[in-house]
Symmetry: D3
Subunit: 276 residues, 6 copies
């Protein structure tokens, strides 16, 4: 929450700077207006509270009425929210509010699409740490609103042992043992494996989750058999839309997809403003 407020302030600061020289010089500070935010395409809306905060920071008396909850499917042409406040606040906040809404809804909309591609399979789609710097919490929220799930939030709330860590410690067994001793009993340990031998080592070491890195379908199926539900199995790397369904059918528990955040684009939303 706190970080989001910082990001909103950064965003308003970079857009308005020392002042909106058009609006400040043409619009009376007490003139009032109404704005409506409209979907210009079918989309999963997300970020309405952020948009509300944008306007509230500019005019604490603003009234923001959301017509949908975050995560709702909205048809093109629908009004998503209406805002009543000073005309100046509406004009100054419009672009920043839309910039937030368009990106977050873009992520949610794309995530929904991915989730539907694997509907009917037991697999869980999760995001990665490939998020826009400064947007981690917001983008992971948008992923959830689209129906996918979150991987760890950052480097602090889950252990992921990669090749470099293993190399430094000497073996998977040693790395898992060492990290278990140090961390809270509430945190799980995931180990990255690139071969079936490593999968077995990870399993023997007591990994809670095993991440199969860039394996082909056949290797993945074999790994699932080896693990036999004694740990969760996650697939990562090279996950394309084309390959997604096949991956889901291998029996893995989780597929992590960087594109959920790093390749989402803005959806089309606009704001109509009228003085009143």
């Amino acid at each position: 929450m706190h970080t989001t407020k910082q990001l909103i302030q950064l965003a308003l600061g970079e857009d308005i700077g020392p002042g909106d020289i058009t609006t400040d010089n043409l619009v009376a500070p007490d003139a009032r207006g109404i704005g409506t935010i409209v979907a210009k395409q079918d989309l999963v809306v997300t970020g309405l509270q952020v948009a509300e905060q944008v306007f509230c920071l500019l005019d604490p008396q603003v009234t923001f009425e959301a017509r949908y909850a975050d995560g709702a499917q909205v048809a093109s042409g629908s009004t998503v929210a209406s805002i009543e406040g000073t005309l100046a606040a509406l004009l100054k906040g419009e672009r920043t509010a839309l910039n937030f809404l368009q990106r977050l809804s873009g992520i949610a909309t794309q995530a929904r699409d991915y989730v539907e591609m694997v509907a009917g399979t037991p697999v869980t789609l999760v995001d990665t740490r490939k998020t826009t710097p400064g947007w981690r919490v917001l983008e992971k929220y948008a992923v959830r609103m689209g129906g996918a799930h979150n991987h760890r939030m950052g480097l602090y709330d889950g252990v992921l042992i990669k090749d470099n860590h293993i190399a430094v410690c000497g073996s998977i067994a040693e790395a898992v043992k060492q990290v278990r001793q140090a961390i809270s009993h509430l945190v799980k340990v995931e180990v990255e494996a690139t071969t079936l031998d490593e999968v077995e080592d990870a399993l023997a070491a007591g990994a809670d989750i095993i991440m199969l890195d860039n394996m082909d379908l056949e290797q993945i199926r074999r790994a699932v058999e080896v693990v036999e539900h004694r740990a969760l199995v996650e697939v990562s790397g090279g996950v394309t839309r084309q390959r997604l369904k096949a991956l889901a059918l291998t029996g893995v528990d989780l597929i992590s997809i960087g594109a959920l955040t790093h390749s989402a684009v803005a959806v089309d939303l606009s704001m109509n403003i009228t003085a009143n």
Copy 2:
């Protein structure tokens, strides 16, 4: 610069939080390593100084050697930069540095592509304020590195009179006159026009730039004739890749394209780390 540092700190904070529980528990603080950042596709690289700052904040003694300058065309497989420092700093900074580089290079790469589509025409492609909140300065920089140009930086360094401003003031003439009186003599005034009548009004009012909003090709050509180089003419709205070349050939001076920033996706870059 200052804002960028804030964004980098926000990014490291959200990723590392109270600590990287894997690396902090497995890698000795004084172990050293080398990282190389490699392009996994053809791209225009941008953001190398930001990547350098990421690692420097984690280890002030790090050595970051960029092999290319921002804006350079880089072939798939090329090493973009090498970094030498503590292994812990490399492991903790890797994802954040790549997240910056991948997005900024993605914008520059796409911008280069747009610019090439209008090569040979005198038109200038410019970005908009549809940037990722918190990233205004960085994304506008990436647009320049891709060869396109910048519109105003924010609401403070250029006047853009839109329909709401005109409605409040009564007429384009009145709005231009009122704003000119208030602003610095170093700032230009742009007026949005949706009809040819408005184009003529804006011209008569002494607008420095006239923005044609969502006009068709025929209207645009007529507007260019009417203006006759007495003001700059900018086209905005509904600019698709398909329509770009035709727009460029209408004789307008500027085409502004929101997609330069709001629809850019990450390009593929990865980092190899080895302990030494």
Copy 3:
């Protein structure tokens, strides 16, 4: 706005620090009072919203009633504003609020004076970047309230090519060309000239404004003739009250005056507080 709030917080922090050890120990936190801010000399009042914010930060329920708008001419003895709130907030905020009001009104009062000296001439008086560090936006606002105009806000919203830039680029023509390519089409280019040859070079290079640096009256008149309204002409340097009217009559468009901000002194305002 944002920066102003930072400055107010800095100011309250440096004055109150860990606590007002007189008031905190003598005045009950819920005791209430009324304050009136009174002009002790004729002045142009400016900064009332800043003064209001000072008290609001100390007591969010305070009522601040301004009797004049910023920019109004106020006669000695007049009440400028009245404030109702906790007695403690009034006592703690008094000095800081007055410090803001006295300096800003001092700038506005002096600016009004300068403007009146050139009344009847078409010249525009503008400020410079010689403002009190931390006060840029506020002091430029006070200049406007006094009836003078603003030069660029900072280094980011207008180009001013000086001797060092020209030396580095080789010529005025080259410098103007190079900077035009890089900047937004909404920003103008001003060139500093110390000789008539440089005035002609700047004109040929397409400068939007030419700044005559430390020229004598005769040179200035010649420059105005040379430029012939093809660019705006600004006079800068050595602008004294004695010389102001003569400068205004040379036909230049703009006179920039550092003293508008760097040599303004506080006007006399005081605050009467009574418990109620």
Copy 4:
């Protein structure tokens, strides 16, 4: 120190904002230069470390060589400091560094002047809390560099009981007693008195210092006799240059002068920059 750094960053931020669009586009980032700061009038220089910090924030490798110590009397035409660093840092920092130096040296120069007016008398001249918001520590430092002394730094490091505090407590005796109980034994208590009766009350109450508020010379002399060195006597209010010497000869210990800070103007210093 900390607050000063915040103020410098605020100042650089408000001047440079998202970038110096002239210098960034015309001067190579690695081009180097030399700057010299020169006094254009006789003055007491103050603020050299602040100026140094300005340039260091822009270029950590800058070399700043001060030719004088803060507080030194400098003759017109003398070089005050020379700076070597990137040309870009010199050009971007010039105005902000000079803005600090000119104001702080202006305060020190004026303070020196006041101090000389009372040379030979045992009186101590002190400043007030009428400082520029955000500049408290710096301006009080400049006052000392000019040879005058500081009153309390803020509301937290000295007790000053005024009429409102007395009214609320019922009597001077009660107010002094109440505050003494609460404060540290390292802090002194000053009481404001407007009549000789109040002077006697304050003395009886055990005030460490008695401030005579807006009294005439005769009253002041009487007060000094009454107090008989049992407390320090301070004169405040209506202190003009004309009246200063006469006040000093009344035998009071301290004269506090708001004009030391609120009516100081910038002295003339300039910076010459050459590429090298």
Copy 5:
């Protein structure tokens, strides 16, 4: 106040981070609840406004009703405060609010205990600068709520000349003279003495307070006789509960005790929450 708000935000940030993953996923954002804070032992309550601010930052509409004022003696089992607001805010703020209350009340409770040990003697018990970093203002406040007094707040609001300062200056006399010249007339000077000779030197130098450092009872009594009320006498170092009463009876004015803050432990308070 300002610093306290920073500390509260730091505290909420470190506890909640990117989100309370239990409450955020199980409790509806608009569900409401009531909490009561109950003393589980006899204690002097302190910190109720801090606790209120914790909840207000999480839910600005929260109602916090304190049943006691800070400094009140509260019996085990008593309800100290009740809070009404969203259930989520109660659950998220509970631990942080209690952590503040338990530590501050712990300090006040222990201070009350110390004060009672010297009841009937004229000595004043004061704290030291041995406070928890970040908590200076709050802990000194808790000391006052427990009935003890404050020494200086920090290095800025009182002079304390120690052995190192004396060594550097050559003598106590020289050190006192030098510092007096520089500081405000509202600040007192304390000198640390380890021998009776130093006590006499400090007295001759005009010290306002003399701190006897680690002397035995006999030396202390002698020092009190030497000083004869011409300065305040403070005892510091080696102050144990066992020795306290004897020290108080030596006739010294002040005893400073680091344990008031550095050895206070949390008292037992808990919070009951019910949904409503």
Copy 6:
């Protein structure tokens, strides 16, 4: 790391404020000195890097030589670290550095003591969220240095379902199911149980850890039998030194102890400074 730096800056700010008026006026800025930090009792030292940062913030060229690593057992009289730098930095940083070291070493020393009480049993001692606000990361680090372990860092990196959450959801089963769906697969779920029935419910619901809240020894032994290693069992509440060994022998996996942080007191360390 970041938060720690903020806390150190807060601490230096609250102690030094606008300046150390003793040292700034008596010690030349370039005078140098040496400090040694000495243990005045047997202790487990912790916080040496924090102490180093304190001095580095005051004098970036300081040399800090730690003689022990954090977590080392140090005998009374041993030198823990030596510092070489400006005398002013040593004098200004002394108290803040010691305040950090004394509290952190106090926690580590007490933790070591607790750990030794259960030596030979397989139980793990863990801390709680009852830490000093602002100190979470530092205090949890000190707990580890003393040999105990950490519970979750905050509300964000582990799920703990308490009675209120269960009440709102209807049942333990429902609460666990609901939260599992929402959280990352890297995070574990702990459930608080006050009766054996609840223990069975939690087990059936698939809790990873079951916290036995305020049970007696007999109930705890029964719960351990019921769980039969299908989940971790944690004991919480009413853990006294007297009861600790008995609790450890019940067969539970974890005992959480608030006193590890909320009831630790400072250990005795002092700093000797000499000019050189």
